[in-house]
Subunit: 514 residues, 2 copies
């Protein structure tokens, strides 16, 4: 089933939308040379459009050399059409005389590798809004070096030996102090150290989710979490994120849709990122958090709170976390050092009721024994010396300024019809192009000008909106941000003009055809 | 189903064997206070023994206060009988008003936590033969400190940032050099860095094994691998390890049984540890390796070779690894720094055909993005400076001497009827007590004298032999080994004398009963 999503309300003709989306699928590698695409009549039925719409789109793609019809066999993706590099699929069988067909051993899920393919082959000095990661130029390397040396001198033999699977005790102690500061009264038995939030999702999935179980996720959401639950063969039920304020409906997770989903399904887990949500940047208002916990309690469903961006708040005040508000012990709270400090050190943590932690600890032990202890001990020292909070204060200032620069540049350059909600922290801003535009298509053009971003479609559980994209602003300085947004806006305006011409041509062809 | 295994060929009466094994199950926590045990008639049928045998065992356990009959309800484990501490089961529901029944979310498998319970509560200066780990007193901490400082100075920003999921490139380059030295011509595309062999098993399971798939394992085997495949709901088919040389049948994996298992099942993977197998210490002879690869090729089944102990060879020459002999690209070779150097740094690797590595890389990315880069970069530096091979030469000498001391002490102290095969490297020796003795029972006694070991039953996929145990010798010096073995032998002899009295009593009681 092709992930196509046409928007009839757009002024961009449907056949242009379809052409652009099919072209984007080829560039993204979702469609590969030799893949058969549906007959125009068949696809028209699937999409609920007139057959002419599909025929027009196919005609343009054929003239571009991207697809080819074979009499009696159907229509196929042609090969390296359009001069673009397409990664060939892996050879179907192994070399060597053994010839095990490894791919027959493989599972049916595939990795989310498309984005890296899309953004490959650009120069190192490209302006990349792709990764939601801390800026490496501010890493406090000297301070970290002091910590690692202190650790190796003081407790080297212990750190380098096999350790407890729930975590290195000094790090657990330092994190309990940090949690107290966050307003979370946790004890040692409430805390498990992991290799970061990605592993936390994996451990939670292994501990609590069985094939066929239902998991509620935000739509759009963090693709890494989606990959975990898909891999576990869970049913991923999505609840929409409201990305624009409307009277009477708060921003963030649609709580009415959540309640309907809880009422209609036996749900095993709800996962969400209440603070500076990835990819939309939105924070859940306090009233929504209380309502969410009330619903979770009523339906007796545990809530996984991804707290990874929460410390990066632009404003002074913070909305209490779900864990802080959690009177009913419903919340599994996951966090990590990766967004504030060092993603290369793979250390995160889970805060949860003791019974859940005990179960997760056993799973952690089975998965990889325990987390790297040199990293754990070094970060414990980093916390105890107050270097973490000092560094956090610094990066908060930097990212707040970058976020302001992004918002300003968007207001200055973006054409009418684009929309975004300015986040109050985190690393991500969610941009909506005018309906009918495909962000993947736009990426192909801005990439040639040395600008990169993540198209929105990779973040959706279902019903992707092709006109959305994510701008991560933490890794570019204010000037780079201004330059990148100007380029993005310029290319978008060019594409909009092309579409206008497309409309006129489409009107003519429609006259000729009917 | 209780894991009971009586040995009729033993001179220890069956009822004594049964009594000891049931008592051991209570001490290990397999049977808990309140658990119902089968009626004597029922258990006698299950075990294929006379009902009197079970009745005699039950009578003794009842007089010890360990079990209790309730009229009309059955026989139950009594509580903290015998004054021994038994860990109570976790409370069934959560505290707090939410009262989520977390345990209902749990999977059905349980963690292999029993061993840690058995060995808990002993003084720090106990002589422990439990862990197959490197001796911490020889960790080259100063050298490692030089490496970590060089890394942070030279490449700090890169190391601390997010990295590639297949591994930190300088470590991959250094490992390819190490592999070349091992006689394995691997390229970058053949290599994936992991968090150690435990994670390698987890990634292999996720990549290639689906619920219901059959995986062949050695019996006994490494419990961590078994836990992974059980967790993945694979069918674990076991092939016996031959632990004693007999004319015409080589030591190690029983190849006839392997062939029969391959012929009778559609097998997804074969996993094994050809060098200094854990727990038996046995190495597979070269001819068996060739035969194994021939069988794997004929049945087209990939082979997972756990190479983690292979560098710790006592003798100068090494038997070629399966990967070295692998002409048909059948072998997935896993290895780690944990047994030679630092288990607290969680870094291992997988060598496999490119298609398998590509699949594993995607799974690795989904699981935890990538392995800790400070550890990777530091170990790369450690390898490049020649510190790894220097350290390996040192620990090989040390462990070889400890192994010799263990063999000597066993020959000096052990009573007739105990058997072992002296390994030619690694960290483990497998000891068989006279048939009918239960190693878990013996552990309870030697533990009071400050000596610990791992009973063999925790290593079996099926049909555990209760009279087996594993002695890991890497963490005790020659004097400690001599002292530990003397204590072990002394307690065993006491138990043997008790059993002799038991035989006489049993003979008397048999006369009275019939």
């Amino acid at each position: 089933m092709l992930p196509l999503h046409l928007q009839p309300q757009s002024h961009v003709p449907l056949y242009v939308q379809l052409r652009d989306q099919l072209r984007a699928l080829v560039h993204a590698g979702d469609l590969r040379p030799g893949d058969r695409i549906p007959a125009s009549r068949e696809l028209a039925t699937m999409l609920g459009v007139h057959r002419t719409t599909v025929a027009n789109a196919y005609a343009e793609l054929e003239s571009e050399g991207l697809i080819q019809g074979h009499v009696g066999r159907g229509t196929f993706i042609k090969g390296n059409g359009n001069g673009l590099k397409i990664t060939p699929p892996a050879p179907p069988v192994m070399n060597g005389n053994g010839s095990i067909r490894w791919e027959l051993l493989f599972a049916d899920e595939r990795g989310e590798e498309i984005l890296s393919r899309l953004t490959a082959g650009v120069p190192d000095n490209a302006l990349s809004f792709v990764m939601a990661c801390p800026a490496a130029e501010f890493f406090p390397i000297d301070e970290l070096q002091i910590c690692v040396n202190a650790v190796l001198r003081r407790e080297g033999a212990e750190v380098l030996a096999l350790g407890p699977s729930d975590g290195y005790p000094p790090l657990k102690a330092a994190l309990l102090e940090l949690l107290r500061h966050d307003g979370i009264a946790a004890k040692d038995e409430n805390l498990l150290i992991t290799d970061g939030c990605q592993q936390s999702f994996d451990l939670i999935s292994k501990a609590f989710v069985r094939p066929g179980d239902s998991v509620i996720m935000e739509n759009p959401t963090y693709p890494g979490a989606l990959a975990i639950f898909h891999g576990a063969r869970a049913r991923c039920l999505s609840v929409p994120m409201r990305t624009h304020a409307e009277p009477g409906t708060p921003l963030g997770l649609d709580l009415e849709a959540l309640e309907a989903t809880l009422a209609a399904n036996r749900v095993k887990l709800i996962t969400l990122t209440p603070d500076f949500h990835n990819p939309t940047g939105i924070s859940m208002p306090l009233a929504s958090r209380r309502k969410l916990l009330e619903l979770a309690g009523r339906y007796q469903v545990p809530v996984v709170e991804d707290h990874i961006y929460a410390r990066l708040h632009s404003r002074e005040e913070r909305i209490p976390s779900l864990k802080q508000l959690d009177r009913a012990n419903l919340v599994i709270h996951i966090d990590s050092f990766a967004k504030v400090a060092f993603p290369g050190l793979r250390v995160g943590w889970i805060v949860a009721p003791p019974q859940a932690i005990e179960r997760l600890r056993v799973v952690k032990q089975t998965t990889d024994l325990h987390t790297d202890q040199l990293a754990q001990a070094t970060l414990a020292d980093f916390l105890r010396r107050g270097l973490f909070s000092k560094h956090l204060a610094k990066v908060r200032r930097i990212y707040t300024s970058r976020l302001a620069a992004l918002d300003e540049a968007l207001r200055k350059h973006m054409p009418e019809g684009t929309r975004w909600m300015r986040p109050e922290g985190g690393m991500c801003l969610w941009l909506e192009l005018p309906p009918g535009f495909d962000a993947t298509e736009l990426l192909i053009h801005v990439k040639e000008r040395g600008v990169l971003f993540a198209p929105g479609r990779y973040f959706y559980v279902q019903s992707p909106l092709p006109n959305t994209l994510r701008l991560a602003f933490s890794n570019l300085d204010e000037k780079q941000i201004a330059r990148g947004v100007a380029t993005l806006a310029e290319m978008l305006k060019i594409e909009m003009r092309k579409r206008q011409r497309g409309v006129r041509r489409a009107e003519r062809s429609r006259v000729a055809l009917v």
